[in-house]
């Protein structure tokens, strides 16, 4: 009995500090997102008015929000497809094929993942520099003759979003590759040997053995892709373009941030946050459900 009481005290003491910090800086702010979204509030004054769901009704008629949502979805779709295909193929090559310098390639490919988004964005701002001294423009200049005007990657409303997508893919490939490599190398060798004896080509082995056997891992990464694209696109946009030119690269979370700080409408900003938060859950859930297959055992 004494031992039991002692145990309870020990458990409580161990949990208390973590739960206290977690509650103050995560639970309460999360609840506050929803609470503030029902207010009209400039943030700095004590002047809060309860407006109910009004922020939400404005939201669905706000064309700027719709445009930022479209940008975000475009980013999610393109980044996911390209990153996934490229990193799956590279992972499979590095694990399956008899390649020299495997370790070298793995080490290099993971580098973008350890750099700050601010660093990556600054590097890409120089790569996309609109003058002839920009890395990309200086290369393009070699293929184009006199009178060619440089491309304003970050200054052209039609290109800017793809420029950001390029930087995001550059950053993401290594991460997902390492992840897929781990699960591909867990597939037993004898399956591939049997396939080879049966005359299956590399491509068939990839589609019929590799993909089905790491399907669960692919599904998990799909959720990561959705959630991290929403979050990372915010940081890339914030640093590289702050939503410009003329709102052309605004994504949902950067729109939230600018509504809260530049426009000082915290209530409206939080309504955006709440909607995006819920949308990202629904999207992840739907995709996870749509891709559910029976797990193959090996």
């Amino acid at each position: 009995m004494k031992r039991n009481k002692e145990k309870n005290i020990f458990v409580a003491l161990c949990l208390a500090p973590a739960l206290l910090l977690f509650t103050i800086f995560m639970v309460i702010p999360t609840l506050n997102v929803f609470y503030i979204s029902t207010l009209k509030w400039g943030g700095l004054s004590a002047n809060k008015t309860f407006v109910g769901l009004k922020n939400y009704t404005i939201l669905f008629e706000d064309m700027n929000f719709i445009a930022s949502l479209q940008n975000t979805i475009l980013i999610i779709v393109i980044v996911t497809i390209i990153t996934m295909v490229v990193s799956l193929i590279f992972a499979s090559i590095i694990v399956r094929e008899d390649i020299k310098f495997k370790n070298f390639f793995r080490v290099i490919f993971y580098i973008p993942n350890i750099l700050s988004v601010v660093v990556i964005s600054s590097i890409f701002a120089q790569i996309y520099d609109p003058s002839t001294n920009g890395l990309l423009n200086s290369i393009l200049g070699l293929f184009n003759g006199e009178g060619w005007t440089t491309i304003k990657f970050l200054g052209d409303q039609g290109i800017v979003i793809y420029a950001i997508i390029g930087a995001m893919i550059w950053q993401a490939i290594g991460y997902y590759m390492v992840m897929y490599m781990a699960s591909i190398s867990a597939i037993p060798e004898h399956l591939y040997e049997a396939a080879q004896i049966a005359g299956a080509s590399r491509f068939t082995q990839f589609t019929r053995i590799t993909i089905p056997l790491i399907w669960n891992n692919i599904r998990t990464t799909l959720t990561f892709f959705i959630i991290s694209s929403i979050n990372l696109s915010f940081l890339f946009v914030k640093v590289m373009t702050s939503g410009g030119p003329d709102g052309a690269s605004e994504t949902v979370l950067s729109y939230l941030y600018s509504q809260a700080y530049t426009n000082a409408s915290y209530g409206y900003g939080m309504a955006i946050g709440a909607v995006v938060f819920i949308l990202s859950f629904i999207l992840s859930g739907a995709i996870s459900k749509a891709t559910k297959r029976d797990v193959l055992e090996y």
Partner: protein, 293 residues
């Protein structure tokens, strides 16, 4: 005949594989190497071909970045925030993870569930409410002692870093604790260790491999963090990524490109060095946690 044909398609395949791998590797190496190269160029060199090698080693850029652009000060701030974040995180997350992995108690399911849900709450969503909460606290403190304490405070930033990393860290550590055999605790109990002593003297040392992984991931996350630092410490206590952004804006106006690249090197060099030292651990640890912020 057929064999020869197979040989040549095999060679062609190898050729394609190597060129694809090399293209990707080059596309990563060149931008990074380019930053290092540009950081030792003199300002006049930036008006020439960007692919030119630097004419000499111009360290003045780093001097200006460190002193005039205050990157030295920001570096110290980053060190402080990251260190506090890591120390506080380990102090609170290790006991919590251990207890959640090894003890049964009332409300355990609830705590587990809350922390799991916390994995899905990204800082980007809650940065504004955190800012408003700290602002409110500051206003209250100001009424009492006429001073603002919470915002623009590098120590508070470190604590916020620790708090936002709790769900991921507890999840990772407690799944490691679960893999340890019960026999260790039984032996410790027979030897007369209390709960606390069993945890600190026996279990936590055994968890060293996962502690190292946790430290690595969170070091990178804290060191590179931008949005919290920007929002909570806008005027003083700036960290390196925030300082780098102001440097970027300033150097565009003054056309001091060399200093900007020196700043970039200052921010990424520590993470690159750490990565080279521990890259195996990092990529292994990733598949252990299998999580991304």
């Amino acid at each position: 005949m057929k064999k020869i044909k197979n040989m040549s398609t095999e060679k062609l395949f190898k050729f394609f594989v190597y060129s694809a791998l090399l293209t990707l590797a080059v596309s990563i190496i060149i931008p990074v190497a380019w930053v290092f190269m540009a950081s030792i160029k003199e300002n006049s060199e930036f008006y020439a071909n960007p692919w030119n090698l630097p004419m000499g080693v111009y360290f003045e850029n780093f001097k200006i970045a460190f002193i005039e652009a205050k990157m030295g000060e920001y570096f110290m701030n980053s060190v402080i925030a990251t260190t506090i974040g890591l120390v506080v995180l380990l102090l609170v997350a290790l006991p919590a993870a251990y207890v959640l992995a090894r003890f049964n108690f009332k409300g355990k399911k609830f705590v587990d569930g809350m922390l799991m849900a916390g994995l899905f709450v990204n800082v980007n969503y809650i940065v504004v409410p955190i800012f408003l909460m700290l602002l409110g606290a500051d206003n209250m403190i100001y009424d009492l002692i006429e001073q603002e304490l919470v915002l623009n405070n590098i120590f508070v930033l470190g604590i916020v870093y620790a708090a936002t990393a709790i769900p991921f860290t507890v999840y990772l550590l407690s799944s490691f604790f679960r893999t340890l055999p019960k026999a260790y605790e039984e032996a410790a109990e027979i030897d007369g260790c209390g709960y606390f002593k069993t945890m600190t003297k026996v279990m936590i040392p055994l968890a060293m491999p996962s502690i190292v992984t946790v430290l690595l991931f969170n070091f990178l996350a804290f060191w590179n963090e931008y949005i919290l630092a920007l929002t909570l410490n806008p005027s003083s206590g700036k960290t390196l990524p925030v300082g780098l952004m102001s440097l970027m804006q300033a150097s565009r106006g003054k056309a001091e490109y060399g200093v900007l690249y020196a700043g970039l090197v200052i921010v990424m060099l520590p993470t690159l060095i750490l990565y080279i030292l521990v890259q195996k651990k990092l990529t292994q640890g990733m598949t252990m946690g299998g999580l991304k912020d």
